[in-house]
Symmetry: C3
Subunit: 265 residues, 3 copies
C-alpha cells in the first residue's frame, strides 16, 4: 500500500460547511489513489495551539509516509508562508504559524520547504481558501511522489510556538498546566510519566484547589464523583472525574496550573 499514501486532514473548518469535502475533491482529482483520514475539523476557529497539540498526539500512530495536512490558518492570504515538512516517518503540509512546533521540537520534521511553485496549486488561488487552493493540492502532489524540494526553497526559520514546559519544584515535584480538555472533560497536562518514579513517594496532584492523592490504575478505580489522576494515553498526567467531566466539576480550562508534589509513603 506504499502506492496508496494516507493523507490526514486537521482543520478548524467544522463540518457544517462543505470546506472539508471540497478539499477532498481537490485531492482526489490529483491523487485518486490517496486514502483520506480526518483527524478533526473542530479545532476552535484559528486556535493554532490546539491544532498543534492534537496533531502531536496523533501523527505517530499513522504508518510511515503518511502526509498530515493541517489548515488552521488565521493568516490566509497574508504573507505567512505555506510549508511542507518531512521527517523520518511522516510528511506535513501546513501554514508557517507554529502549528508544527511540537513536531519540530521532537525531530519529527527535519526538512522544510516553502510552497512557492504555483504549478502545484489549484488555479486561480483565492484570497480566503488556501486549504483548497494551496495546501490540499500540494498534499496530493506529495502523495503522487513529488519531492519536497520541488515545491519551493528550503526554510530554516519556521515559526515556533512557545510551548509550555513543566517547571521543577523542590522535592522532585513539578508545576505544569492543562494542555487540553478532551470530550469527556478530562484534563490532559504536560506533566510526564517519568515524574512519577516510585521512590519519590506518593504523588499529590493539585489543580484548582483540589488535592488528589495517588495515581489510579484505571478510570473505574476511582469512586464516581471524585476526581482522580492517572497517566493517560499520551504518557502525561491526566485529571478525570469518573462518570462526569473534571473540567466542569472543577471549573478548570485549558491553561490552568497543575502541580505535583510527593508525600512520604
Amino acid at each position: 500500500m506504499a502506492d496508496r499514501p494516507i493523507i490526514t486532514l486537521l482543520t478548524d473548518f467544522g463540518t457544517a460547511d462543505a470546506f472539508v469535502g471540497v478539499m477532498k475533491g481537490v485531492i482526489l482529482g490529483i491523487a485518486p489513489q490517496a486514502r483520506l483520514v480526518d483527524l478533526t475539523h473542530e479545532v476552535p476557529p484559528q486556535a493554532v495551539a490546539v491544532a498543534a497539540f492534537l496533531l502531536e498526539t496523533a501523527w505517530r500512530e499513522f504508518p510511515p509516509g503518511t502526509i498530515h495536512l493541517v489548515v488552521v490558518d488565521p493568516g490566509v492570504g497574508s504573507n505567512r508562508r505555506p510549508l511542507a515538512a518531512e521527517g523520518p516517518r511522516a510528511r506535513f503540509v501546513a501554514p508557517d504559524n507554529g502549528v508544527l512546533s511540537p513536531i519540530l521540537q521532537a525531530g519529527g520534521a527535519t526538512v522544510l520547504h516553502a510552497l512557492t511553485r504555483p504549478e502545484f496549486f489549484r488555479q486561480p488561488v483565492s484570497r480566503t481558501f488556501h486549504g483548497r487552493d494551496v495546501f490540499a493540492p500540494v498534499a496530493a502532489h506529495l502523495a503522487n511522489g513529488v519531492a519536497l524540494a520541488a515545491l519551493g526553497p528550503p526554510v530554516t526559520n519556521p515559526v515556533r510556538l512557545d510551548l509550555p514546559r513543566p517547571e521543577p519544584l523542590p522535592g522532585g515535584g513539578a508545576a505544569g498546566q492543562v494542555l487540553h480538555v478532551d470530550r469527556f472533560g478530562n484534563l490532559i497536562t504536560n506533566l510526564p510519566e517519568a515524574l512519577f518514579a516510585a521512590e519519590r513517594g506518593v504523588p499529590v496532584v493539585t489543580v484548582a484547589g483540589h488535592r488528589i492523592q495517588g495515581l489510579a490504575d484505571s478510570y473505574a478505580a476511582v469512586p464516581t464523583g471524585r476526581p482522580g489522576a492517572i497517566v493517560g494515553s499520551t504518557g502525561t498526567l491526566e485529571v478525570f472525574l469518573p462518570g462526569g467531566s473534571a473540567a466542569a466539576a472543577l471549573g478548570v480550562r485549558r491553561g490552568a496550573a497543575v502541580t505535583v508534589s510527593f508525600a512520604p509513603e
Copy 2:
C-alpha cells in the same frame, strides 16, 4: 472486495479530539487494505445502551464479513473483558459491557472470544485508551484474516443489558417505550410493525398524554404542527412532528412510555 473488508467505527469519542483519527491510523498501519466507515462518534459519553441501539439499527445494512468496532467503554482499564464476536454475517469487536446485547439476542453473533493475546495489541497498552491499544488493532488483525479463536479463550457468559420489551395490553394493544430520539426529534419506539394487523381496528398511540389516531403513510401526510405516528425505517412505531421535533413539542425523552390500543373501525 472480500480482500478489502469494511471496518465500521462506533464510539462515544466525539469528533473534536483526534481519538477516532488515531484509531484509524492504528488500523491502517496493520490492515492497509481495510475500508473504514464511521457509524457515529456522538454516542453520549459512556451511554452503552444508546450505542447498542444504534449498532442494532445499522449492522444488517453492511455487506457480509464487515467488522463492527464499538468503543463505548466506561470500564476501560478495569477488569471488564474486551471481546470479539462472530455470526453468520458480521464480526464485532467491543468491550464486554452489554453493547452487543441486541445482536446476541437476535443471533447475530454466536461465537465470542475474550481478547487476551497481547501480540495483537498496540504496545504499550495504556490505562485509558483501549480503543487505540486493544480494540482497533484487533479489528485490523481480524481484517487481515486472523481467526477469532486465535485472539483468546471462548466466552459463554457475555454481559447482557436488560432490553426493554413491549408488554401486551388487553384488546391486542401493547405498552412500549421510546428507545431513541433521532436528529429530527422523532421518537423511535420498541413497538413492532406486527402489532398493527389490520383486523385489530384503528390504532391509537398515546405518548405523554397525547393521543394519535391512525398510522400515517408518510411524514408529509400529517398536517404541520400535529404529531403523527408511522412505522419507521427499522420496522417499529415512530412518533413524529412534521416540520419540527416531536421530542421538543411533546416534552418526551428516551425511555418515555408509549402505548398502542385499538378503536373499532
Copy 3:
C-alpha cells in the same frame, strides 16, 4: 481510477444517529469499489435551500464522473419524485424538491430521470428513509455503470427554487443578499466579483447599517474587530470580521440585504 467512482454525500441527517453510516453500508454492498466523501450532514433539518447552496459551492471541485448524492428530503414517502441527473462533469441523485436548482441553472445537469424502477432499490422500501432505500442504492448502481435512462422515465419539469439574484442599482452598484453564514461567521453573498470593476471607483458595502469601504486582499489585512469585505473563494462578495464572527458582531443572518455602491476614487 475511473473504475473507482467517487460518491459524495450531502444530507440533513446529522452525525449522531447511524443514518449516514447505514447509507454507506448499502452503497458498499452494491458498489464495493466506490470511494465515499462526506460533503456535510449538518444541513439544518429539511433546509433544501441551504443544501442547494452547499452543493453548488462544492461539486465543481470533484473529478469528472463523481456522483453527488443529496438527501434533504422533507417530502420522503410522499409523491415527490426521486431523481437522477447528469451533466458534462457530474451526476446527481436527489429528491425533486429544488435542491439541484443552482446546478440546473448553470447547465451542470442537463438530463434528468425519475427513479421508478424498484429493482434498483433496497427492498422493502420504508416510508421514512429513502436515503437508505432509494437514493443510496441508485447512486451505487450508477457507480456500477447503470445508465441514467435505465432508472426511469425522463423528467423535463424538475422543481426549481426561486434563487435570489442581485438587482442592479443606479451608479453601477447592486442589491444582493447573504446566501450563507459559514462556520467562521463570514457572510457569503450573491454579489459577484465582476461587479467590482476597477473603473467604477471604490466600492462601499452596506450591511445591517454598517458601511465598509474598499475590498481587502486578505482577512489579515483588516484590523481585528473591524468588519471587512473581500471576494471569497466562490467568487462572490463576503463580509468578515478578523478574529471573530461577522454574523454575531453585526447581528446578520442568512437572507439579510447587502448593497454595493461606488464612491469616486
